[in-house]
């Protein structure tokens, strides 16, 4: 495919990376084998909460093939895993940060908590030996629900966090909210649960650590979304290594959805042990370990209230949320139910006053952290569920109540800290309504009723804050890291280009999207551009991929580097063409003296830069290789409307999603096919949460009851309809690409659309509330309860 006038931008190029993925030529962590490699297996706690009386490794140490066994006591001088975001409670005290040991010390706090590391010649030998490690536990009572964890008398998980309380944080003007409620014509109240989810990336977490005695350096291959952050946290905060002695490589990674952002205990223990063992050590999680130890998502319990005037205009919103942190604070756990949640509670609406209080609790469960959407799906669920209820209570149509409250003037300062730069919510609602054929719904509902089925329609007009974001603002809010991105454009002497990006691609298609941008800007064939990512030894720096930030932030860093390349090329061209630099135009891969046909191709300029025989060496360095760091001035704000249509079989409670329509505004789009794929994946994850997925712990024992695919329902192809998607564009004003981000929108917008549709369908039989997931059993029970109450 060749470049047209706007180059490759807006073209659905096939993904460059897919050839290797589809032919099995991808290189994942487990595909890497190093000479003399050993294998690790972790002894894990079978109890949700227990004191460790003693650990006897003597029998295991004699097992065949065992190289070494380490327990918490061996890790002298090794720090705990850090949390990257400090949240300050309303009383001014910092959040409680109990130690998160790499291997348990004295106590275990969730099923799967790592107790010992066994290193052996083979994976099976390590596993066999692990069974011989004798741990004497004193089992303690456990608590898995965040509300119960904060109740008086709950089992105490950490000495450092009395009452299992991590923080109580608030945002917004409480006085203004109280005043608005006092004069409201109508108040809608809603209690809801945002169900805990298990991420389930197709590639389980894995690590391969090695130490080089020759220069006392370490190399870690790991399934990470952000290798530089991994290196910084591990080297500086846990192991006390100089960063230049640790190279972190995140090669091909099979999905992350947030769960591979974090610094985990396993790879940290491996790096530490690799020097002691003197051989490389590999660990690959079994799927059961993924269920038990990957950071989970969501797990909120919320009470929300919305105040409206007599015309259905929103006056104020009040939200109280209890959020589970799990047994330890994962890397970004603390900012998810606060900074990335409460700030989104304005949604697309002009609600003038909002107050949100969040209590965070430790529980005897896997840690909870960002999972596709991270705080924003939870916020959208609160807003779009309560808006639906308010409309029903006040007898206002679902689209109409939204239109009455849409923000239409930009930039718009919300009462919860964000400044929306641009948007047009009417046009995405119009677009979704069109796709959904809302006009034909009444007839479809009547037809379904003839077949004994219940049809419902549900809306969700979501907004998200992406492109995380200005470092100084994040720092003021408690971030302990920057949020910029780095990009390097290396033009090779023959004019081909190697791009080094701090973003990491684990399914997003960056190798194609970024190449499209570079090829377009330089006017060269896209095949002449390769994108390198995921290696601290090759890429200068990076903050990684999460929060739908790669194109808006990482892509912009590349654009800034490209500007430097073109700027330098212009100087070289001016010299060669004996013209003033200001007279040189760059277009379609040619540097031309304005108003003449005298020009030099990009390739000629590149060659000149590296073979500087005729070159202004007194004024200009040779070479053509530029790096840029880009720190955005604001978040980006993708938004849209999703409309879900369901048909319910009242005999069985089965909910069929018969139609799902999404109209999104992601700003400018580079590769529409990749964007559509991201939307489809996000929608499927959101539908998974709303329809199927529920992580359940036994409330007494703290055992994970949904610890395999036998009990944890992931969405399959036949659970979802053929999606109808479209886009509208209001270009983002904060970055030169005008892009906003599309990776999480599907998972953010879809859950409330689905539940709203289910409640719409069930309204005739008297059901007024349902928590996710809307499983057949739960829907049937809701119908029975409604019948019994009638």
């Amino acid at each position: 495919m060749g470049a047209n006038e706007s180059g490759y931008i807006g073209q659905s190029l096939r993904r460059k990376e897919d050839r290797r993925f589809l032919t099995g030529a991808g290189q994942y962590t487990d595909d890497v084998t190093l000479p003399h490699q050993t294998h690790a297996y972790f002894v894990r706690s079978p109890h949700a909460h227990a004191k460790i009386r003693s650990i006897d490794t003597s029998k295991a140490a004699k097992a065949p093939g065992v190289v070494a066994i380490y327990t918490g006591g061996d890790l002298e001088g090794v720090g705990g895993l850090p949390c990257g975001w400090l949240i300050t409670s309303v009383d001014g005290t910092p959040m409680k940060e109990p130690p998160h040991p790499v291997l348990a010390k004295g106590k275990v706090r969730h099923v799967g908590d790592q107790v010992a590391l066994v290193v052996a010649e083979t994976r099976n030998q390590a596993k066999d030996a692990a069974e011989l490690v004798d741990v004497d536990y004193e089992v303690l009572p456990a608590v898995t629900n965040p509300v119960e964890a904060l109740a008086p008398g709950a089992p105490q998980i950490h000495d450092e966090a009395p009452g299992n309380h991590c923080y109580t944080w608030a945002l917004g003007d409480k006085g203004a909210v109280d005043a608005a409620f006092a004069k409201a014509a109508h108040v809608t109240k809603l209690d809801l649960v945002n169900n805990r989810l298990i991420p389930n990336a197709i590639e389980p977490r894995a690590a391969l650590a090695s130490h080089s005695a020759s220069d006392d350096s370490y190399t870690l291959y790991v399934t990470s979304q952000n290798p530089h952050v991994e290196r910084l946290l591990m080297a500086a905060f846990v192991l006390g290594l100089p960063e230049h002695k640790l190279r972190v490589i995140a090669p091909d990674v099979g999905g992350g959805f947030g769960s591979k952002i974090y610094l985990y205990a396993e790879e940290t223990a491996l790096v530490w042990a690799s020097k002691r063992v003197g051989r490389p050590i590999k660990w690959v999680a079994e799927r059961s370990e993924s269920f038990l130890t990957d950071a989970h998502g969501r797990d909120h319990v919320t009470h929300a209230e919305l105040a409206l005037d007599k015309d259905g205009r929103f006056l104020a919103m009040r939200v109280n949320t209890t959020a589970a942190m799990g047994a330890y604070l994962s890397t970004f756990a603390s900012c998810i139910p606060t900074i990335l949640y409460a700030t989104l509670l304005a949604g697309q609406y002009t609600t003038p006053a909002i107050h949100c209080e969040v209590k965070a609790a430790f529980t005897n469960t896997a840690p909870v952290d960002a999972y596709r959407g991270a705080g924003r799906p939870e916020a959208t669920y609160v807003v779009e569920r309560i808006v639906r209820e308010a409309a029903v209570e006040m007898g206002i149509a679902q689209d109409e109540i939204r239109r009455r409250n849409f923000i239409r003037t930009f930039p718009y300062q919300t009462p919860v800290a964000l400044m929306y730069d641009t948007g047009n919510y009417d046009q995405t609602l119009d677009g979704a309504s069109e796709l959904a054929d809302v006009k034909g719904f009444t007839a479809r509902k009547a037809e379904a009723a003839k077949r004994g089925k219940l049809r419902g329609l549900g809306y969700s007009s979501y907004i998200e804050a992406c492109g995380l974001a200005p470092s100084n603002i994040a720092g003021a809010l408690g971030a302990r890291a920057g949020l910029f991105e780095a990009g390097q454009v290396r033009v090779n002497p023959t004019g081909s280009v190697t791009v080094f990006t701090g973003s990491h691609s684990h399914g997003q298609g960056h190798e194609t999207t970024f190449a499209q941008i570079v090829a377009t800007r330089l006017g060269i064939p896209v095949d002449n551009v390769d994108v390198v990512h995921g290696d601290t030894g090759r890429v200068a720096f990076g903050m990684g991929t999460y929060g739908s930030r790669s194109l808006a932030v990482g892509g912009t860093a590349i654009v800034k580097a490209l500007d430097k390349i073109v700027g330098k090329g212009r100087k070289i061209a001016a010299h060669l063409l004996e013209a003033a630099e200001s007279d040189i135009e760059f277009k379609d891969g040619k540097f031309t003296v304005a108003g003449t046909d005298r020009s030099k191709t990009f390739g000629e300029i590149a060659l000149t830069a590296y073979v500087p025989h005729n070159y202004p060496l007194d004024k200009l360095e040779p070479g053509l290789d530029e790096t840029a760091f880009y720190d955005p001035t604001n978040f980006t704000f993708p938004a849209g409307t999703h409309i879900c249509e369901v048909e319910i079989d009242p005999d069985t409670g089965v909910v069929e999603v018969v139609r799902f329509s999404a109209c999104d505004d992601f700003g400018n789009i580079v590769n529409p096919m990749i964007v559509e794929g991201q939307v489809h994946g996000g929608l499927t994850q959101g539908i998974g949460q709303a329809l199927l997925e529920a992580c359940v712990y036994d409330p007494e024992s703290g055992q994970l009851l949904t610890g395999s695919y036998m009990d944890y329902a992931m969405p399959r192809a036949d659970d979802v309809p053929s999606y109808q998607v479209s886009t509208r564009v209001t270009p983002c004003t904060v970055n030169p690409l005008g892009t906003k981000g599309c990776g999480e929108a599907g998972a953010i917008g879809s859950p409330p659309a689905l539940i709203n549709a289910v409640l719409d369908a069930l309204a005739p039989v008297g059901v007024t509330h349902l928590d996710m997931p809307a499983t057949p059993h739960r829907v049937w029970q809701a119908i029975q309860s409604a019948k019994a109450a009638a």
Binding site: Y709, D711, M714, P776, W780
Partner: protein, 263 residues
């Protein structure tokens, strides 16, 4: 997986002897056993592979019955012309088991010997009143299923075939567990040659069982409405994360009515 000794038998009698001697287990399609071994939930010291035993293979129409060799794969049953012609309900049931990989490896005999409470084949065997043939004897379906993962088989007894009587009408309907897609409730209904009706339910209880109330209702009127109007007692039904006993009790007549409609 723990280390395991692998042996291959040439006849059912030899397989039985090898199992008796080693205290090991028979390996049929391995779709439950191998998975359990990989999770270290099963630890047979010896596996005796039945895959190469000629007498366990093949599908034969014998008088008024259809005999399916114990080592016949689900996929082969689903596509066999003899099955589609004589008892199409069995082909349809086989087509709905697990996924393509499972159907290409898993066998009818393995499924019956394992007697998973949510497996599909037990419903067909009990629903049709089939006969389980072993290398020693013939066992009527009503005597075969003893409880959760329990059957009338001795530890060293090898199923060689299952003989299904050809019914007038039969069908199987399954309501899948949303996670595993095993039967949350599966109902096999059959109207036999003598006009009698049998209804077998899988997934709903610790083991497959016959639903007397449905059999009585359908004997009077073999119609979906009659099935749907029947009541099933929740007592003794499974109560778990995915479905309460009451929900399962409600589903049995609903799913039975769908099976009747399809029969």
């Amino acid at each position: 997986m723990y280390a395991v000794e692998y042996q291959k038998a040439k006849s059912a009698t030899e397989a039985s002897g090898l199992i008796a001697k080693s205290g090991g287990k028979a390996l049929a399609g391995g779709q439950s056993l191998i998975a359990a071994m990989k999770l270290r939930l099963a630890q047979p010291g010896t596996l005796v592979d039945l895959a190469g035993i000629p007498e366990l293979a093949g599908i034969r129409v014998e008088g008024g019955a259809l005999a399916i060799g114990a080592m016949t794969r689900h996929a082969d049953i689903a596509s066999a012309a003899e099955v589609k012609r004589t008892i199409p309900a069995l082909a349809a049931l086989a087509e709905g088991i697990g996924d393509r990989q499972v159907r290409n490896m898993g066998t009818i005999g393995g499924s019956l010997a394992n007697n998973d409470p949510a497996a599909d084949w037990p419903a067909a065997v009990l629903g049709l009143g089939a006969t389980v043939v072993t290398h020693k004897r013939r066992i009527a379906a009503d005597d075969f299923f003893k409880g959760m993962y329990e059957t009338a088989l001795a530890a060293d007894e090898i199923i060689t075939a299952v003989s299904f009587p050809t019914p007038k009408k039969a069908a199987y309907a399954k309501f899948p567990n949303p996670a595993s897609r095993f039967a949350l409730v599966g109902v096999f209904v059959a109207q036999l040659g003598d006009g009698s009706v049998r209804v077998a339910v899988t997934g709903a209880a610790p083991s497959v069982f016959r639903a007397a109330s449905l059999e009585a209702a359908l004997a009077k009127s073999f119609t979906p409405d009659a099935a749907k109007a029947a009541r099933v007692d929740a007592a003794g039904l499974n109560n778990d994360l995915h479905a309460s006993a009451a929900y399962r009790a409600h589903l049995v007549p609903v799913i039975a009515s769908r099976a009747v409609a399809a029969a």
